[in-house]
């Protein structure tokens, strides 16, 4: 059965056409796979943001932007028209705590500029503004299920519109005022471009996201435990598995969520055939 026939039978099955990531030491998928951190990858650059919005963007926004840029480039899709789903468990919590500090600690007026970018969809907005993308943009949150649910939101879009959709998930460290450092995590972002299985897009693999499943693939290995605790680690696990050519079922929440899984299969074959 061809990919297109498969997709017609199961509209929730899509292709993965591009991937990207950003973590301290790892500014791209190839460096991450090599296992050798890049000492110069200290802060994300904000590649998908224009100069003005790069200044406005948080570290989260910049890391999302870098991961997204790589995924869009690999998929060869147009950043000015591609619908974008942004997932984050805590969003701009760092900005929010900065505002709380202004209001309650130093007792000064809230910064209007900071307030404007304290919303969960700040990064999504800055990316759409920078790239003049007047199409679909959304921002989701579901704790450790954020990667899986962001992918599902994108699957729904691909299935009903037939166009490529970008998904980018990331989280900044939780402010230590609110959560002890030993249960926090480090900055992390991962992105994918999902496409319909209609034969018009080159794919790295097929993807189906399910709630529940029998995982047979192992998650990626993080040297730093704080990276493994990031709610978006499941996205990095998925990117790692696809980039390594692994096929099978991967849990997307590292055991901390509701059990969403990714079925990864060959781009051009029916699963199990």
């Amino acid at each position: 059965m061809s990919s297109a026939e498969l997709s017609a039978n199961d509209p929730s099955r899509v292709g993965i056409a591009g991937m990207g990531l950003w973590m301290p030491g790892y500014a791209d998928v190839a460096t991450w796979l090599s296992g050798e951190p890049d000492a110069e990858a200290v802060k994300p650059l904000g590649l998908a943001l224009d100069r003005r919005n790069r200044r406005r963007g948080s570290q989260l926004g910049r890391s999302l932007s870098d991961a997204l840029t790589a995924a869009l480039a690999q998929a060869e899709v147009d950043v000015s028209t591609t619908p974008t789903v942004v997932g984050s468990a805590i969003g701009e919590a760092v900005t929010l705590v900065g505002l709380l500090s202004q209001i309650w600690r130093t007792v000064e007026p809230a910064s209007p500029a900071a307030f404007s970018v304290s919303v969960h969809n700040a990064a999504a907005g800055l990316i759409s503004i920078s790239n003049k993308n007047q199409g679909f943009s959304s921002a989701l949150s579901a704790d450790c299920d954020t990667p899986a649910t962001s992918l599902l939101e994108a699957v729904g879009l691909v299935a009903t519109t037939g166009v490529p959709v970008a998904v980018v998930c990331g989280d900044e460290p939780v402010p230590t005022e609110l959560v002890p450092a030993d249960v926090g995590w480090q900055l992390q972002a991962g992105a994918m471009v999902l496409v319909p299985l209609d034969g018009t897009h080159s794919c790295l693999a097929q993807l189906k996201v399910t709630l529940g499943g029998q995982p047979d693939l192992s998650p990626a290995v993080f040297v730093d435990e704080a990276q493994a605790r990031n709610p978006q680690a499941g996205m990095i696990d998925l990117i790692t598995a696809v980039a390594r050519g692994q096929r099978g079922v991967l849990r997307l929440d590292r055991g901390a969520g509701r059990g969403y899984c990714a079925e990864i299969s060959e781009a051009s074959e029916a699963p199990g055939s």
């Binding site: 709380l100 759409s128 989701l140």
Partner: protein, 392 residues
Amino acid sequence: MAAPRVRPLPVTGYTNLNALGSTRTEILEALAAGRSGLAPPTESFGFETLVGEVRADLPVLTGDLAPWSTRIASMAGKLAADLEEPLRLARKRWRPERIGVFLGTSTGGAVSTEQAYRHFVAEGVLPADYNFQRQHMFSSLLHVVGELTGAKGPGWMVSTACTSSGKPLATAQRLIAADIIDAAIVGGVDTLCALTVLGFSSLQALDTQACRPFCKERSGISLGEGGALALVEREGEARVLIEGVGETSDAYHISAPHPQGRGALGAMEAAMAQAGCTADDVDHINAHGTGTQLNDGAEAAAIATLFGDRVPVVSTKGYTGHTLGAAAAIEFLFAAYVIEEGWIPPSLNSEPFDSDMGIQLNTTLLKGDFKRVLSNSFAFGGNNVSVLLRAP
């Protein structure tokens, strides 16, 4: 992006909670009487403003849900309990694993974090009962609503500021079309908190009196709180149908609308395209209508471009205040009331009307046969949603 290939989605039940009340009767009586729910805030912020606070008794979550019992979770809990009758029927029709939960919020648990942070500043430690994951994170609402409704399908929170609770309608349409779910609980909830009041004050976007949408002398918003939930199903006895949901971006500015309402216009066009109808088929518009100079000007420009002054427009922000992440859900239910009840409430505080708007603002209780109604919501980030409802 082409219009999504989705079918009209039956809304088989809904429930609404805001400054006007927590029952259909309370809310309809206030709307019919032109009675605002805005009042001085319970907590003083050091300047004059009016807010739309929820005054209904809210349940305290108990048992296993006790650790999640914040004000916003209690609001969600009340809404979920009020939706139980149609939910009971839905659970007979569909497996729990095929019922999704897609909710919107903008502030989420910010009010709990705000209180905890004040304690932290004063005492040097967070309150013993504060838990970031259960009280701050948006996903806590998913847990509460999932537990209370028995819905076990996919679920997530949408947080796109003031469009947050409109986008879940589109999500449900798409996931039902993709055969991932059969039904969904959609909507949203948001609470008032000092952060938003002081934040909008810093933007000089708060009116000192009740907000005056589309009034020549409008000078800002009044904030509010509340929530609304709707049950949508693949098949079922529809109270109204969701025919189209348009989602666009302004791609212009993080907190100001495109001056000509480019994204707003696109969202309304997309909703109509999905429904396969034209502007001539729309009978009424519930506008975003916040009461700021820029927002109302941009939205009116978009409405006038598409509809001229043919269609009666109302903003209901003068009744409830701007409920931010809950506004889209609360107001698409106001649009549903118009279809079901056959009357449009008067837009409040609009005199003197800004004649530059070029739209027909409805300022009296207008009776009629309203079959198709648009409900608009626009947000920070340039995010836009327009929901098109139709009589079944």
